[in-house]
Each structure stands twice: as C-alpha cells, then as structure tokens.
C-alpha cells in the first residue's frame, strides 16, 4: 500500500482538473468565421475525426496524468518493499495478544493457536541481522533471537490479563526509538474493539487479525453484593453480564456453605438473588455461568463480609446525624449501643467530629493524644475545597474544615483528602473527620451520599475493616496501610502497606496484617475481555497513524515491509517524464501534421 511522507502535498491533485476544465471550457461556442471551402473541412472532419479525437483524448489523459504523477511525487510516495529474506535489517517488535479473549474457541480451535501460528510465521521471516522483541499481555518487551522468541510464543497460553493494544504499541515504539535500524511493530491480535486505545509515539504498525465471524459470548461483568457488611439477615447478589450473546444464560451463585442458587441472566438483563447467610466473617461468593466458547470469563469470585450491625451511640441533638442514623437503624444497619460513639470521642471506637465550639478543640486534641491517636485538629480553614472522589465518597463541597495534623512521622491512616489535605483519617478504631456534618460546613448532610458514608464508617472503617477490593489481573491496587502480606491463590506475597500491588492471577487475595485478615482483593477478569466485537480496519488506521490491517494468514508476508518502504518518487518522476515525452510527441506530431500540410 502506498503511503506518503507529505500527504498535505496531495492537495495539489486539484491541479489535475485544470486540463479537464480547460477542455470543458474550450467546449464553449467559438466565434464564427466565414469560410467558403467548408466542404473541404467537412470532408476532412469525416475522414480524420476519429484519429484526431483519439489524439485529443490521449493528450488530455497524458497531461492530466502528468500533473497527477508530479503531485504524487511531491507528496513523497513510499511502498512496501522486499519479501522473505530480502528485507533490510529491521528492529521488529511482535505484540502477541494472548489476553483472556484469545482463549475463545471457534470451530473447535482456540483462537490463541491461530495467533501463535501467525507470530511464528512472522518470526520465521526474520534474519540474523534483525533485532527482535516479543510483547505479550504481561507488558514486558522480551528481546531474543528468532528461535528464543518462537519458543516463548509456542508456550504461551491465554492469560487472565487484558492487553491494552495502544499501551503495548506505545511500549514497542519506546523500544524501537532507541534503535538505529528501521523499526516495525507487528500486532498479532484478535483485535477486540475494546482493546483499542490511542498509542503514543509514531511509526509503522501492521496488525494481523483474524477475519472470520465473531463468536457470540457472555461473561460476568460484575457481581454486586450491596452494602457490607451483611448482617445476619443476609442480602442480595446482583449479577451483571456482558457480551454479544443476548440469549439467557444460566447463572449459578454459591455463598459460603449455602447451596447453590441458579437463575437466568443476559447481558441486558442482570439477575438479583436474595441470599441468607449463617456464617460470619469473610464468606466466599462464587458465581458461575454455563460454559460457552470463552471459558475464562464464566466464573467470578468475591467475598461477602458478614458481621453484626454496629452498636452505635450518636448525638441526638445533631439533627442531621440523628436523621441519618434513624434511617440506618430502621434498615437494620445499626443498633443503638455503646460499641461506637459518633460525634465525639467515646470510651471505645469513635467517629470524632470537630467540636462546635472552637474553644474545645484543644481539649479534644488532648483527649485524642491521650488515646494514642496520632492525628489532631489544627487551624480552622474557611477556603472552600472539594473532597477527592473515591469509592468511599464522591466529590463533596466543603465550606469549612479543620486542618488534620499528624503528630507522627508520616501521614499514615489518611482515608480521604480535600483540597490536597487530609480530611478523613484513622488511627486504630478512632476516625477523625475534618468538618462537622452541618450544611454550614459541608454539603454532605444534604447529599444522598451521607447515609451510605455513615454506614461505611460505622460498619467498616471505624472497625478497621477494609471492604473487598476488586481488580482485574495486572491492575495496580493500593493495599491498605497495615497490609504486610497478600495471600494469593497458591502463594503469599510480602507487600508494603500503602504501596501498589499487581495481582497476576484471578481469585481471592486476602490482605493480611500480621495474623489478621484486614481485607480481601477479588481479582476477576476484565469484563472488557468478554466483548469479542472486533475493531474494523478503519478504526485501526484512524487511531494509529501509519498502521494497516492484514489478514492473520498474511501476517508473515506483511512483516518486514512496513518499516522498510521503498521511495516511489523516482518511478513516479520517470513515469511523468515518459508521459511528458509522450505528450510532447503527440503535440509535435499534430504540429508536424499542421506544418507538413502547409508545405504540401
């Protein structure tokens, strides 16, 4: 396929219309000349009209093509060059997409087999002078010889990871940017539309993708267990599906030791199952779909935290708090009790708000220090701010707040920030809030998020429990501060609290702080992998400039050509020269005919 170095020069193609327009313009009614010997002209026209017409159109064609070729030459045309064993030394990065979706089976053959075969074919075209890398879903660019990379490709299996093709191409371009020889990126992928993202950098990209029909698939998009922890009354499980299979799919849900419940769901029709539970603590929740062509997205694992409702004592004089806890109490989420004090520092677990009287701030701070709390209320800030949007709370406007100062060496225990400063912090079972729950301080009491926030605070946060985190394989997850180990399926990994952790497999990852389990990370497939809709060539070429899409079987033939493109300016200019000579010959021939006629 011909590409152009300076495509803007193609605007000059408009000039090719000039001969045509002149031709049309010349078709206007000409002036009339009296000429008695018209009979000779008529006879001449009768005999020579066809030849002259042919000459005329040939001249027009030659002139138009001449302009077109000159403009194309000015645009710097290039074309793929070479073939097996004939290409120039090339730095080649092969991106082999072994993401979850590559595990789909079509006609009894896993898609990954076709991708691996294509990758091997591409690598077979490499010579000893080429430099080769292989990028897979793990996001690493492996440098190796042809045989080494072929061996890696042969052993690849469908991964639980999602492959962001734009990110992978960006990585490949980063690798190639340090190379002196022509670079080329070959993407061997099932080309899921959901995997297409913009790629950084520039350079030739060839995408080899299958062309057959797309397999209808349904996978689990999400499992929602509602507000946690569950109480002894149980809760409801909602299963959301994703995919192109719109027919009903049997869904099996098993919570702990309870018997499996089944229902019919579809991507457009989530299913909700009320569940009761007798266990306490972290109860595993497994959801399974009936097997289909892509098995990797047919199961989902998470946990449900089951605990008794928090026994809370709140300040009945604070009408906003009172109204919210009335709702929670009516919903069974809290019961009146003395386990947890809301509004001020109590004898046990406490959710501490700034005192209404600023004069009492000092006393509160001393009391907090006396309880070993490393955080204290600082100066009153009246500059408006907005809370960071997190899973715990969205963006909420703050009018007034107290600075929360850490007396320790670092800011550990920050749960939420506002305007860049800590606003919700925790030390042990004591949580400090920077603002009072009053419309004069924040819009939160008037927000629908107020009650769920209080529910989370009293049932989970203050208790020191982290709700189940969710992630897809490979996604970075910030583990809680207290976490020192992650117990993944089959292995335990030492981590640093507050750092990022990347799960590499699906399943339940328990977050451990010493002997205590402080949370669970549920790692399940990225639901985008379940949508097997394939991107069109136009989407690809428009998203990644300089790219092209070829059939999977043509991948090997297309390799080592995009980076080594032949300069077509020479052939174009030579052709233009030949056309120019032809044009001059035709024109001269007509002039000679004219002149010879005169001298005859």
């Amino acid at each position: 396929m011909i590409a152009f170095a300076t495509p803007w020069a193609l605007v000059g193609l408009v000039a090719a219309l000039v001969p045509v327009l002149l031709h049309l313009f010349a078709r206007r009614e000409p002036p009339t000349v009296e000429f008695p010997a018209v009979r000779y002209l008529s006879e001449t026209a009768r005999v020579h009209q066809r030849r002259l017409n042919l000459e005329h159109w040939l001249l027009l064609l030659a002139r138009t093509l001449l302009i077109v070729l000159l403009v194309l030459a000015a645009a710097g045309p290039t074309s793929p060059r070479g073939g097996a064993g004939t290409h120039a030394p090339t730095a080649m990065v092969v991106i082999l997409d072994n993401s979850l979706s590559s595990g789909v089976t079509a006609g009894g053959v896993p898609a990954i087999d076709g991708l691996k075969k294509a990758a091997r074919g591409i690598l077979d075209r490499a010579t000893a002078d080429d430099r080769l890398w292989l990028v897979t879903t793990d996001g690493l660019a492996r440098r190796g010889s042809r045989e080494e990379l072929k061996q890696i490709a042969d052993t690849l299996r469908p991964s639980a990871f999602r492959l962001d093709l734009g990110e992978a191409i960006g990585l490949a371009r980063d690798v190639l940017s340090g190379e002196t020889m022509p670079g080329e990126v070959m993407v061997v992928s099932d080309l899921q539309a959901s995997a297409l993202t913009p790629a950084r950098g520039t350079g030739a990209v060839t995408v080899a993708a299958p062309e057959g029909p797309i397999v209808a698939n349904a996978g689990i998009a999400a499992v929602d267990a509602g507000a946690q922890p569950w109480t002894a009354d149980g809760g409801a499980i909602t299963v959301h599906l994703v995919g192109a299979d719109t027919t009903g799919v049997p869904v099996s849900v098993r919570l702990g030791a309870r018997r499996t419940r089944q229902a019919l769901a579809a991507p457009t029709r989530p299913v909700t199952l009320p569940m009761v539970v007798q266990d306490r603590g972290w109860v595993p929740l497994d959801v399974e779909l009936a097997p289909d062509e892509l098995r990797g997205d047919d199961s989902w694992s998470t946990v449900v935290r089951v605990a008794p409702a928090a026994r809370v004592r709140w300040d009945g004089g604070d009408r906003y708090l009172a109204a919210a806890f009335d709702v929670l109490r009516d919903g069974g989420r809290v019961v009146p009790g003395a386990d947890l004090t809301v509004g001020s520092l109590g004898p046990g677990a406490s959710l501490v708000l700034p005192p209404a009287d600023p004069a009492q701030v000092g006393a509160v701070n001393r009391a907090l220090a006396g309880r070993g709390v490393t955080w204290q209320f600082g100066a009153l800030v009246t500059v408006p701010a907005v809370t960071d949007s997190t899973a715990l709370l969205g963006s909420e406007r703050l009018t007034r707040r107290y600075e929360l100062k850490s007396a320790g060496s670092g800011e550990t225990g920050v749960l939420l920030r506002a305007g860049g400063a800590p606003w919700l912090v925790r030390t042990g079972d004591i949580v400090l809030v920077g603002s009072r729950f009053d419309p004069a301080w924040t819009s939160l009491p008037l927000s629908a998020r107020f009650v769920p926030l209080l529910d989370a605070l009293v049932n989970r946060i203050v208790r020191g429990e982290i709700a189940a985190l969710a992630a897809a394989p490979g996604d970075p997850v910030q583990v809680p501060d207290r976490t020192d180990h992650v117990a993944a399926p089959g292995r335990t990994v030492t981590v640093e609290g507050g750092a990022l952790f990347r799960p590499i497999s699906t399943g339940l990852h328990f977050l451990l702080a010493g002997q205590d389990t402080i949370g669970v990370l549920s790692v399940n497939p990225d639901p985008r992998e379940s949508d097997l809709t394939r991107a069109g060539s136009r989407n690809v070429t428009s998203l990644w400039k300089g790219s092209r899409v070829v059939a999977l079987d043509d991948g090997a033939n297309a390799a080592f050509t995009a980076a080594s493109r032949g300069d077509l300016r020479g052939p174009f200019l030579w052709t233009a020269l030949v056309l120019g000579v032809l044009e001059a010959g035709l024109a001269a021939g007509r002039r000679r005919a004219h002149d010879s006629g005169r001298s005859a």
Binding site: P30, P36, V38, R39, Y40, T44, V47, G597
Partner: protein, 307 residues
C-alpha cells in the same frame, strides 16, 4: 508601397494583383496588364499561317516586301501592304462564376477577392483574344445565369465586356450547369470556353456540363480560382467555420486540422484534374496572389498550346 513612377517602369502583368488593382480602373489596369503580357511573348512560329486578307495599309519603311500588293501598285502606282486576318477566327466564351463564395478573400486589404481577381483576369483575357480578333463573349452566373454577352470580334466589344464585368456583383449560390449549357447557344461552331470559378459547386453536375461542351468540339479551359487561405488552413483559436452560401458549418481548431485539410484539398484538386483531363479539358489552379501575367500565360498555353 510602390510609387506610380516605379510601377510605370515595370511590367504590370508580373506585379502583385492587389497592388495593380489599386492603380486605376479596370480598363487602364487591364490594358497595362495586357501590354506587359504581350511584350513578353515570344515570337510565334505559327505567325502567317491560315490567314486571309483583311485590308490594305500604306507601306512603311521596314515592311516586308512580300506583303506589298504588287497588283495595286501597278494600278495605282502606290505602295500598299496587305494586312491579313486569321481565316479561322476563334470564338471564345468566358463563363464567370459570380456566386457569393467568389466574393471572399482570406486576407481582406491584402489580397483581392476571388471575384475581383476573376474580373481583372477575364478583362485581360478578353482583351488578348480581341486583339487577336477572336470573337469573345461573356456569361456570368451564380445560382442562375445573370448576364450573357454574345461573342463579338469588334474592338469596341471589349468595353461592353468591361461594363458587364464591372457590374457583376456577387450573387447567392452556385449553379454552373445552366450557364455552361447556355454556351452552346452562343458558340455555333467550335470555340474556346474559359470557365472561371472557385469550383465550390456540385462537381458531378459541373463535370457533366463541361464534358458536354468538350464533346461538342469546344476547347474547354477551367481556371480554378482559389484564395491561398482556402488552400491552407491556418489559425490557432477554435472557430465555427461557416459556408456563406449554404450556411453549413464546422467547429474545429485549425492547428489540429491543418495537415489533414491540406491533404483533402490536394485530393480534391487532383480529382478535378483527373476528371477534366480524362475528357481533354484543360485545368489550371490559379490563386489570387498569382500575378496576372502568369495566370494569362497558363491560361493561353492551356487553351491554345501557344504563348
């Protein structure tokens, strides 16, 4: 531009026709042409043959003694010489095409129209013939016969011919056959027919009529008058070329068609030449930039074989 004095020293029959035509009226110009033409003629080897006595003239020094009438000398004791008139006086008819196409010139102001050229050529030709005491007549035509002057040998007849030529205005179409048929009425015995035309007419009909005249024993000469602009197509800009007689038109760019056009004209002239010669009809192409002397010489050579 030539001065009158310079022109006077030259033979008018060899000058540019357009330049000559500007020197004066048809009578003066024609006589000048003929004088020049006759002074350039070689002595005819046939002089003295087939002549009969016409009149006596007083002997002058230098006259050949063999023409002295000795019997009259004996009776009157005066020297007279005999003057002779050709016994077979020629009767000639000029048939002049005065159609609208004849009123065209490819270079107005620089070349004569075909009709103007034909007028002067006809006048000169008739003067030459009359000076040889050949009876000369004239037929003009366009799409019909316009004027007929029967052949006369009187010297004064030339002025009638001049008047007729001067009054010949371009007509409309061209129909030569009726005019050529009328020649038969005017030439009872064998004579000379000079057909002056641009031949932009129905060739078959014209050939048929000309052949008829040739078969009647007349010596026929066709002078094909052409403007140089008709012989060769020129010009750069595309134009609609329209026939003034028929209104037929063709749109073309001359530079594209010049070669082919010239070949077509050449083929047409060849067709005329072959078609006429096959029946013993003399044919000569005369362009309107040809000096009259040259045209007269060609015409007389074709017509009589002597010049």
């Amino acid at each position: 531009m030539r001065t009158a004095a310079a022109v006077g020293r030259e033979r008018l029959d060899l000058l540019d026709p357009h330049e000559i035509a500007r020197l004066g009226g048809i009578e003066v110009v024609t006589e000048g042409i003929v004088e020049g033409f006759l002074s350039g003629l070689h002595r005819s080897p046939r002089r003295g043959f087939s002549v009969e006595f016409a009149e006596h003239r007083a002997y002058q020094l230098g006259d050949e003694p063999r023409y002295v009438d000795w019997k009259l000398l004996a009776r009157t004791d005066r020297l007279y010489v005999k003057q002779y008139e050709e016994e077979t006086n020629l009767r000639a008819m000029l048939v002049l095409d005065a159609s609208r196409s004849m009123a065209w010139t490819g270079a107005p102001g620089e070349r004569l129209t075909k009709l103007a050229y034909a007028r002067l050529l006809s006048a000169a030709l008739s003067l030459v013939l009359l000076r040889q005491r050949d009876a000369t007549g004239l037929i003009t035509f366009d799409d019909e016969v316009r004027r007929i002057l029967p052949p006369r040998a009187r010297r004064g007849h030339w002025y009638q011919l001049l008047a007729a030529l001067q009054n010949t205005e371009p007509g409309k179409g061209t129909a030569a056959e009726p005019a050529l048929r009328r020649v038969v009425d005017q030439l009872r015995r064998r004579g000379l027919v000079v057909f002056i035309s641009d031949l932009l007419l129905d060739r078959d009909l014209a050939l048929k009529a000309l052949r008829f005249l040739a078969h009647r024993g007349h010596q026929v000469l066709v002078l094909h008058l052409m403007d140089p602009g008709e012989q060769h197509l020129s010009g750069v800009i595309e134009a609609r070329f329209q026939d003034p007689e028929t209104g037929q038109s063709v749109i073309l760019r001359p530079q594209d068609w010049a070669g082919a056009y010239d070949r077509t004209v050449k083929e047409s002239l060849t067709a005329w030449r072959i078609g006429l010669r096959r029946h013993g009809i003399a044919y000569e192409v005369v362009t309107t930039d040809t000096p009259f002397g040259t045209a007269l010489r060609h015409a007389l050579v074709r017509a009589t074989g002597v010049a």
